[in-house]
Amino acid sequence: MAAPRAPLHLVTPVWSGGTWGIRGLSSAVAPEGNKKRTLLQLLCGYFSGVRVLREYQFRKQLQKVQKKNRSFTYIQDRYGPDIAGAYFILKLGGSVKFQGNEWMGPKDHGHSLDVLKLQAVPVEAVDASGCAINYQGLDNLLALKELRSLSLQRCPHVDDWCLSRLYLMANSLQELSVAGCPQVSERGLACLHHLQNLHRLDISDLPAVTNPSLTQILVEEMLPNCEVMGADWTHSLNPQPEDESQDIASPSAPSPSSRSSAG
C-alpha cells in the first residue's frame, strides 16, 4: 500500500513548488536543455525503471574513476613509492621521468621491467595531462619525495580539494601546471601558498576562475618568487608569452574579455 501512495504525495502543490525551483535552476545552466535531452532522459520522467538504470549507470561511472585511482599498496610495499607512483601514472596514460633518464610514455608501459630497473632512482617529473587522476589517486604522487615538476593539465577530476593537498610536496616541487582543469578555481589556487619553492606555475585557461587576471595578480603577490603563467590575454599580446608574462601582468594592463573567453 505504501509504494503506490508515495508517488501521489509527489504532486502536492508544496512539492511541485520545490521541483519547479530545481528545474528553473537547471534551465539556467543549460538554456536549451529541452533540445539536448536524450531519449533516456525523456523516458526517465515516465518510467522509474529507466531512472534506476540511469542512476546505476551514473554510479558505475563514478566507480570506474575510483577504481582507476586506487593506490597500489602492494607495489609500494615491494618496490617503494617511486615505482608505485610511476606505475600509477603510466597506467593512467601519463608519462614520467626518472632522474637522469628519458621521459617514459604510456607506450612504454608494457616494458614494466624497464621501470623495475630504476628502483633506486627517484621520479623527477610527472606529466599527467588529461588523466583521470582524482583526490584519492593523488596519494600515489604525494609519496614522491623528489618530484620537481608536476603537470596536471586538463585533468577533469582535479579540483580545489586536490590542490589543497599539494602542500605535502612543498619541499621539492618547482614546476606545476594546472592549466585547463575545469574544476580548479581561485579558492584552490590560494592553497598553493604552501609551495614556496615553486618557480613556475601555469594557471591559464581555468574556466571555473571568475576573474582570471585578478586571480593571476593575487597569485603572483602570494608567490613572489614564482613565474605565473595565467590569463589568455598575455598569450595573445605576446608571441613568446612564457618569457615575459611577468612584465605584462601589471594591474594597469587592460584585460579584454578574459572571462568570456575562458568560458
Binding site: H9, T12, F58, W161, S164, L214, E221, M222
Partner: protein, 486 residues
C-alpha cells in the same frame, strides 16, 4: 451528464437574472452572464479540476513514519541519511516540517560556513572529519539525475588558532589528539608564523595551530539547497508549517526501586499550516527534533522539562537561541589570498571574503553581555568595542578599515556544555534530538544526520559513537565540554 450540467448552469443563470430584474435597478449584462455560465459548465465537465470534496493536497500526509521538526541543514541531513540507509527503496516515509521556506532567520544561511577539525573532543573531531569527506564528495552523495552539479565553493585555507602562553599546553594536547584522529594539523611557533603570514603581529602569541587539509569555509546555502533537492528526489516530503502539538500516549511502569516512571510516546503531531488556523494531525512513529535554536520550545511542547526540578522529568533541554553578529568590512591593504580563518587569542575571528579585500568576522560575546535574542538587529557598537580592537592589534593593517554591512544569526546554544544533543529522550521515548551544536552544527550536519539515522534504523551508533552527546548528561550533570584555548 452533460445535459444535466447544462440545465443546472442555465437554470441558475436565469434564476439570478430574475432576482436582478425584480430589484429593478441593474441593466442586463448578457455577455457577462454567458461567460459565467460557460465557466460553470467547464468546471463541472469531466476531466476538469472540479472536486466535490474539499481539496487537501496542500496538507502534509496523514501518516508518516518519521516526522522531522526543522528543515535546516541538520533536519535535511537526517532525512537524507534515513532515505540513504533504508533497507528497501521507499521503506520509510519521511516528512520534514519547516516553518519558513525562505530560511530568513535560520542559522544555516546566516552562518560563516566554516569547517574545522581543531576540537578537543574526539567525537567532534570525528564528526568534522566525516563531514569534510562528505563535502568533498558532495556531488556523489547529493547527485540528482539531470541536475546541475553543486558548486560548494569550498575554500581549503584552514583555520589558524592562536594561543597565548596560558593556552599553549592545552593547544599542544589538543593537536596531539587531533593528529591521532587523523586530522592534518600542524603547530607553528611565533617565528614560523611571522615568516608564513607577515601581516600578523605575534605579540602575546606563544603557539599557533594551523589546519592543512579539510579545513576552511564553504557556501552553506549550497549545502542546504543541495540537500533539499536530493531529499525531495528521494521521496521525502517537505512541508511548510509549524508543529503546534504532540499527542502522546502514557505508559506507567515501576522501576527496581518501586518508583513510578511514566514513559511517553508521541503518536500524533499536529502540523499547523502557515498563515492559517488549519492543521493536520500526522500519525508518526518517530519524531526528530532538529529545530535548531528553537528546539527547546519544541521539546517543551512534548512535555520535556515539565516536572519537579531535579528529576529526569523536570530536566529541560538546555538549548536556547543566542544572537551572534557577523560584520563585513573592506580593508585595501588587508591580508591576501593565503589568509586562513584566523581565531585570535581574544576570541575574535575573521576570514577573507572573495578576492576584493573584503573580510568577514566577529566575536562571541561573554555571558554577561549576551544580546537579547528577540530580534536579529545588529549592535554596531559591539564591533567597535569588542571585535575591532583585538583584530587591529593582531593584524596592524586592520587599523584602517571600513565596515560595509553586518548581520546577525542565531546559535542553537546549549547552555549546559556548548555541545550537541544527539539521540533519544529517556522518557519521551520516540523523540530524537539533533540539535544544540552551539555554532558548529552546520559543519557537522552530514555526520550527525548519519548518526541519528543509524540510531533510528538500527538502534545504535555505528560509524561514530556519540554516546557522550545523549540527553542523559543533563540529568546526571556530566558535562561533555570542549577545552578551548580561547
Amino acid at each position: 451528464m452533460l445535459r444535466r450540467a447544462l440545465q443546472l448552469g442555465l437554470g441558475r443563470g436565469f434564476w439570478s437574472r430574475g432576482l436582478g430584474t425584480r430589484r429593478g435597478g441593474s441593466t442586463l449584462d448578457w455577455d457577462g452572464k454567458m461567460l459565467e455560465i460557460k465557466k460553470k459548465i467547464q468546471s463541472v465537465l469531466p476531466g476538469s479540476a472540479w472536486e466535490p470534496l474539499y481539496d487537501t493536497s496542500h496538507l502534509p500526509p496523514e501518516h508518516s513514519d518519521v516526522v522531522i521538526v526543522g528543515g535546516g541543514v541538520l533536519g535535511l541531513s537526517v532525512a537524507f541519511w534515513l532515505k540513504k540507509l533504508e533497507q528497501r527503496q521507499g521503506a520509510i516515509r519521511v516528512l520534514v516540517v519547516e516553518r519558513d521556506h525562505t530560511y530568513s532567520c535560520a542559522s544555516t544561511g546566516l552562518s560563516l560556513g566554516g569547517i574545522r577539525q581543531q576540537y578537543s573532543l574526539p567525537e567532534n573531531i570525528q564528526l568534522s572529519l566525516f563531514s569534510a569527506d562528505f563535502l568533498r564528495n558532495i556531488n556523489e552523495y547529493l547527485a540528482v539525475l539531470d541536475g546541475p552539479p553543486l558548486d560548494l565553493q569550498f575554500n581549503p585555507l584552514g583555520y589558524l588558532l592562536l594561543a597565548s602562553e596560558k593556552g599553549a599546553s592545552i593547544m599542544e594536547k589538543n593537536v596531539k589528539l587531533q593528529r591521532q584522529e587523523g586530522a592534518k594539523i600542524c603547530l607553528m611557533s611565533p617565528e614560523q608564523l611571522r615568516n608564513k603570514f607577515p601581516w600578523i603581529n605575534t605579540e602575546g602569541v606563544a603557539l599557533a595551530s594551523y589546519g592543512l587539509e579539510g579545513e576552511g569555509w564553504f557556501d552553506p546555502w549550497c549545502l542546504l539547497q543541495g540537500l533539499r533537492r536530493k531529499v525531495q528526489s528521494m521521496g521525502v516530503i517537505i512541508c511548510q508549517g509549524e508543529v503546534t502539538r504532540f499527542v502522546s500516549s502514557l505508559d506507567c511502569m515501576k522501576d527496581v526501586d518501586g518508583e513510578e516512571v511514566t514513559l511517553k510516546r508521541i503518536y500524533e503531531v499536529h502540523v499547523k499550516m502557515n498563515q492559517s488556523l488549519e492543521y493536520q494531525p500526522v500519525e508518526c512513529a518517530v519524531v526528530i527534533n532538529a529545530a535548531g535554536a528553537w528546539s527547546g520550545q519544541v521539546a517543551a511542547l512534548a512535555g520535556i522539562g515539565q516536572g519537579p526540578p531535579g528529576t529526569l522529568k523536570g530536566t529541560k533541554l538546555p538549548v536556547e537561541p543566542r544572537k551572534r553578529y557577523v560584520y563585513s568590512w573592506h580593508c585595501p591593504q588587508g591580508p591576501g589570498l593565503e589568509a586562513p580563518l584566523l581565531v585570535d587569542t581574544s576570541g575574535a575571528y575573521f576570514r577573507r571574503d572573495g578576492l576584493g579585500h573584503n573580510y568577514l568576522g566577529g566575536c562571541s560575546p561573554s555571558e554577561e553581555e549576551e544580546p537579547d535574542p528577540g530580534d536579529l538587529e545588529v549592535d554596531h557598537d559591539f564591533f567597535h568595542h569588542k571585535v575591532w580592537p583585538p583584530l587591529a592589534q593582531r593584524i596592524p593593517v586592520f587599523e584602517a578599515l571600513k565596515v560595509q554591512r553586518a548581520w546577525a544569526g542565531y546559535y542553537d546554544y546549549n547552555t549546559f556544555d556548548q555541545n550537541g544533543v544527539v539521540g533519544p529522550h529517556p522518557l519521551v521515548t520516540n523523540m530524537y534530538f539533533a540539535t544544540g551544536f552551539s555554532g558548529h552544527g552546520l559543519q557537522q550536519a552530514p555526520a550527525v544526520g548519519r548518526a541519528v539515522a543509524e540510531l533510528v534504523l538500527n538502534g545504535q551508533f555505528q560509524t561514530i559513537n556519540l554516546n557522550a552527546f545523549t540527553f542523559d548528561r543533563f540529568f546526571l550533570g556530566v558535562k561533555t565540554e570542549e577545552f578551548n584555548i580561547i
